[in-house]
């Protein structure tokens, strides 16, 4: 597999690649982050005409929506699409493909080593351009930027898994060679054929990012420690989720929550008068709307083992519940029972779909 040395900014090089692909007709559309014209904000865009690529900023530390979630609805259109994804977005999409919610068949996936994204409130406040130079400097040194999402800072999966093309923007640029675009698959070679740029035979070397990894693992430890399992669990749980207003924003932005209608929002949990009477007769008081804690516990069992830690949920929570941290931590522990890493491999079975005859001998 070959590599392409990037002689300009990584984001611009990827934009050029997208333009090349669109113009050469190798793809029908591109999915990329874009600067909203006349605004300091960003969005994710599906672009079919190369002329619309001018505003595209394929690599930017902003996630307005987990692109994996969006891809699930367009990847099976039959059109050829190139998509620029952050590593966690790609992992989310892998999880969705396992659940028949998308397909890699017509996709060219371009991802990059990720320094983390800024919380949406900074995006909304128009601060990104102001923050970018420092951010890029820090990540090129392989360090962890301070004001990114907490789950980003604690994310050790910042190197894309299974991307057709990996753009190395973090850490290894420091060596002065400039950033490199790695073509990881035959598909990548095929699509990139004819694209300008100096070719080489460089191999991606994750060890260059060791410093970043160590820093992040340290951050993860801190983050997880903030979700303590000591003390009376129920009170702790109430501390954590007690503020929940039941808006279900977390699940609507969650890429793994692929259900058409969340069961917890469905009529299955629509309570009628007898239910309220029943519970009131026991407890003399009832939180309204009911089931907010139940919702989080239920969702944890449903999908936490597939949580990619993108942090969308925490970012949208209006009352500041550290949803992503809880899910990341719980999910990691649970996934570890099955030696499972979400998004690692599309062939890896989801833990609840399979079983081993000999396992969990301590249960039962």
């Amino acid at each position: 597999m070959s590599s392409i040395i990037i002689d300009t900014s990584a984001s611009r090089k990827v934009r050029e690649l997208l333009r090349f692909l669109l113009e050469s007709g190798k793809i029908d559309a591109a999915v990329t982050m874009r600067k909203i014209p006349e605004d300091s904000s960003y969005d994710l865009a599906l672009i079919t005409d190369a002329s619309n690529l001018d505003e595209a900023v394929p690599i930017v530390p902003v996630m307005t929506v987990n692109a994996g979630q969006v891809l699930s609805s367009i990847s099976t259109s039959g059109k050829k699409i190139a998509v620029v994804l952050k590593p966690c977005e790609l992992r989310a999409f892998v999880e969705l493909v396992k659940r028949e919610q998308g397909s890699f068949e017509n996709l060219l996936t371009i991802s990059h080593t990720c320094g983390g994204v800024f919380p949406l409130d900074l995006v909304a406040a128009g601060k990104i351009e102001e923050l970018l130079p420092k951010y890029e400097k820090i990540i090129s040194k392989g360090e962890v930027p301070a004001n990114t999402r907490d789950t980003c800072r604690a994310c050790e999966h910042f190197i894309p898994m299974n991307a057709d093309i990996t753009v190395a923007v973090a850490g290894d640029c420091e060596s002065g060679k400039g950033c490199v675009m790695y073509l990881n698959t035959d598909k990548a070679e095929e699509y990139a054929e004819g694209f300008s740029g100096e070719r080489g035979e460089l191999k991606f070397d994750p060890s260059a990012l060791k410093k970043m990894l160590d820093a992040r693992l340290l951050e993860k430890e801190k983050l997880f420690a903030s979700i303590t399992e000591d003390g009376p669990g129920l009170d702790r749980l109430l501390d954590t989720f007690g503020k929940c207003i039941g808006c279900h924003g977390c699940n609507s932005v969650c890429p793994i929550c692929y259900c058409l209608l969340c069961d917890f929002e469905s009529a299955n949990f629509d309570y009628n008068l007898p239910y309220f009477e029943e519970h009131l007769s026991r407890r003399a008081a009832l939180r309204l709307p009911p089931d907010t804690i139940f919702f989080h516990l239920g969702r944890l069992t449903h999908m936490s083992f597939s949580c990619v830690g993108c942090g969308m949920c925490s970012d949208v929570c209006p009352v500041g519940i550290p949803v992503a941290a809880v899910f990341r931590k719980t999910g990691e522990k649970t996934a570890a029972l099955f030696d499972y890493v979400p998004g690692r491999d599309v062939e890896e079975s989801i833990p609840v779909m399979v079983y081993k005859e000999e396992e969990f001998s301590d249960i039962g």
């Binding site: 669990g233 749980l237 407890r283 804690i293 239920g298 069992t301 083992f305 649970t334 029972l337 969990f360």
Partner: protein
């Protein structure tokens, strides 16, 4: 007003093994505490993880799943799935510092009346030690 603590253990018993085993315990007049509240399900794999959570949050002091022994499932593999799902719920509870001891899965065959009675007795004792589920008191659930 203080009443004596009577544990309530919501018990999901599979029709073919554990429910039958529980019937057998009764037929053999094996005695166990009234804490066990049986709910018949077709298979332990019918028990959705959210059942456990709901029962727990409702104030069950314990939640028991009874299934056929591994390899004996009337539906071939149902209990293997039940076991994985149970492991997940348990892991979620542990991660959050909730009392996962209030959840139990036990393999009880149709001919294991004595085992059913034993599990009922032992688990009730264990729950007595844990005391009343604090969820019973909480109005925030």
């Amino acid at each position: 007003m203080k009443k004596e603590f009577t544990p309530r253990i919501t018990s999901f018993l599979c029709k073919w093994c554990s429910y039958t085993g529980a019937d057998l315990a009764g037929t053999a007049r094996l005695q166990y505490p009234t804490s066990i509240i049986p709910i018949q399900v077709m298979c332990s794999s019918r028990v959705d993880p959210v059942f456990l959570i709901k029962a727990f949050l409702n104030g069950s002091d314990g939640v028991l799943i009874g299934g056929c022994h591994p390899g004996d499932c009337h539906y071939e593999t149902g209990n293997y799935h039940a076991r994985r799902r149970f492991a997940i719920v348990k892991s979620v509870f542990d991660s959050l510092g909730l009392e996962s001891k209030r959840l139990k899965l036990s393999w009880i065959s149709a001919s294991e009346g004595p085992k059913f009675a034993r599990v009922a007795n032992e688990y009730t004792e264990e729950i007595m030690k844990l005391g009343e589920n604090p969820t019973r008191k909480s109005i925030f659930l």
